[in-house]
């Protein structure tokens, strides 16, 4: 009950504040939080099945470039390019999944790491299509049903809706009967396989859903910033998304939400001194692993359990 009330309050705050605080810059940070929360949630789905996918930033990049190229080269409307970006990444994940998800733990991390680096290299080197290190400039703003989204506030609400849907899917996937199966795969795969569960197909399914949302987030990012470069989807972005998950807590979708709200504004506060911003991220990540291994969400949960027990 408390949890539901908190979530409603959370949603009301997320929805209401841009109406009260009319500041473009603060809204801009709001959009970044929404997009990071979406990608972090997509990573969280993979973490929940016990697989750390290091390709998530590259997936976001694939979505961003797909949407951009469909709009700029083929003149398709955003309304088509946006879902297409998600679907393409989902399709790639679905094709790669059966090969990749056979391996576990460190090997899966290394495999997706190699995939991510390979994708990044293609963005950098295929200059005629992806613009190389100079990137792509002048990406048209997104338009929905004849209305062009120009203000940060419109993007804020669009991205907020996307983050909200991702959150609901992440909760739904794991709360359903299938979710119980997925959790059991993380706990004891042999046992669940002995009950006739096809572990691989469940994993591939989650990988595809996770890729889908990362791709959608990339599309919003591309049309919002109007500029793409391979660097935005490099391994360091992947590390940021992982930090959001670890510091927020990986055991529930609430973790990455909390993590994104806390961590995304941080670099903006330390904007002029990039090196200190990196150092803060590194130290926070270190502190989280050493002292709060289940993250803020996990910490809150144990606090509540501690209060309940007399």
């Amino acid at each position: 009950m408390l949890r539901k009330a908190l979530l409603v309050l959370f949603a009301a705050l997320a929805f209401g504040w841009p109406l009260v605080i009319e500041n473009r810059y603060v809204t801009h940070i709001g959009v970044l939080i929404d997009i990071s929360a979406t990608v972090s949630l997509s990573l969280n789905m993979m973490l929940r099945i016990g697989q750390l996918s290091a390709a998530q930033a590259a997936f976001m990049g694939l979505g961003a470039y797909t949407s951009t190229l469909l709009v700029m080269r083929l003149g398709l409307p955003f309304l088509i390019a946006f879902p297409a970006a998600g679907l393409l990444v989902a399709a790639i994940a679905a094709v790669m999944g059966p090969i990749f998800l056979r391996v576990k733990g460190v090997y899966f991390v290394l495999l997706t790491f190699a995939l991510g680096e390979g994708i990044g290299l293609v963005f950098q080197e295929w200059v005629s299509l992806f613009g190389g290190n100079n990137g792509i400039h002048g990406i048209p703003k997104a338009s929905l049903f004849g209305m062009t989204m120009l203000t940060p506030r419109s993007y804020y609400y669009f991205a907020l809706a996307l983050a909200g849907v991702t959150y609901l899917v992440a909760v739904g996937v794991f709360r359903s009967a299938r979710g119980a199966v997925l959790d059991s795969l993380n706990e004891n795969e042999e046992l669940s396989q002995s009950l006739g569960v096809n572990a691989l197909s469940y994993r591939v399914c989650v990988f595809a859903i996770s890729g889908f949302f990362a791709g959608l987030a990339g599309s919003v990012y591309a049309h919002y910033t109007g500029f793409l470069s391979p660097e935005a989807f490099a391994f360091s972005t992947m590390v940021d998304m992982l930090a959001i998950n670890v510091i927020g807590g990986i055991s529930s979708p609430l973790g990455p939400l909390l993590g994104a709200i806390l961590l995304v504004p941080l670099p903006e506060l330390l904007r002029d001194v990039k090196q200190y911003q990196m150092l803060t991220y590194g130290l926070l990540l270190m502190a989280a692993v050493l002292f709060l291994p289940s993250g803020i969400a996990g910490g809150l949960r144990s606090l509540r359990q501690w209060q309940r027990s007399p």
């Binding site: 391996v103 090997y107 190699a114 290299l121 293609v122 090196q275 911003q277 150092l279 990540l285 270190m286």
Partner: protein
């Protein structure tokens, strides 16, 4: 044609030897502690900066500067194990995150202290060797020779000394090793120190050849990772074979098709290796 082939092989061998140094430390740390050390490239960077400061700013001769830098990185590694990794050992996921955090911290400290600009270290060796129509820079030969010396020393340490035997025992089975009176924790510290030391040595050797800057560790880290996957995670002989193989194949591809194609091929090989034979070329199936 023969001269070209020889040139490709020699270029490949000299870079390959540095890959071997990086990969050996990486695979040693993984084999003994199950830590995927994402901070390995940053240890290389620290070694390179240390030698640049000592031999450049303080104008020490190169050899003592390099020896001190290598020792410094080894000490840094033992401190990292003692105060950070020891607390999360046994949890592969947390070890990986901690290594990432260490990598970010070291990189940003590099940026804070030295700034983002690429600097150079004084060259201890100059000139070239000619063979037929081929040419090989003397500093490359120097790096190759030093790397071989280090590898031989490492081989003797691991196979001919009592401490090396203890290390191999812990890598095989920490519990049984502990039953025989070996203290796995002490071996962990030593393994992390030696792994770091090898990365620091690679950095100190390459500093005079390449430029030195805070992000310089990313590429060698990537190579070490490719080599280690190719040779099998935790397999020392695999790291040596994989490193030399990658060096030569890359040198060939870079000459024929360009370095991007070489890198893409390397990634494809990694994906193929993990999916078809995850234990690598030389690793044992666990």
């Amino acid at each position: 044609m023969l001269a070209l082939t020889l040139q490709i092989v020699l270029n490949g061998l000299t870079t390959g030897l540095v890959y071997v140094l990086m990969a050996l430390g990486f695979t040693l740390i993984f084999g003994i502690m199950r830590v995927v050390n994402f901070a390995h490239g940053e240890l290389y960077m620290v070694g390179a900066f240390a030698v640049t400061v000592l031999s450049g700013k303080l104008s020490w001769p190169y050899v003592p500067a390099a020896v001190c830098s290598v020792i410094l990185v080894g000490v840094l590694g033992s401190l990292l194990e003692r105060f950070l990794f020891r607390r999360v050992i046994g949890n592969e996921f947390n070890c990986m995150i901690l290594a990432l955090a260490v990598s970010i911290c070291l990189q940003s400290l590099g940026l804070i202290i030295f700034g983002p600009d690429e600097i150079g270290a004084p060259r201890p060796v100059t000139g070239v060797f000619h063979f037929g129509s081929g040419v090989i820079p003397a500093d490359r030969v120097f790096v190759g020779v030093m790397a071989i010396l280090l590898l031989v020393a490492f081989y003797f340490f691991l196979n001919k000394t009592h401490f090396g035997l203890m290390m191999r025992a812990v890598a095989q089975d920490p519990e049984v090793a502990a039953l025989h009176g070996i203290r796995p924790k002490r071996v962990h510290t030593a393994a992390f120190a030696i792994g770091s030391l090898l990365a620091g040595a690679a950095g100190a050797l390459m500093a005079p050849i390449y430029t030195v800057f805070p992000y310089m560790g990313e590429l060698p880290m990537m190579k070490a990772f490719i080599v280690v996957v190719l040779g099998g995670l935790g397999s020392l002989s695999g790291a040596v074979v994989g490193g030399l193989l990658l060096g030569i194949v890359e040198s060939g591809f870079a000459t024929m098709l360009g370095s991007t194609a070489a890198a893409l091929v390397a990634f494809a090989v990694v994906v193929a290796t993990i999916t078809i034979r995850p234990e690598g070329l030389m690793g044992r199936r666990s």
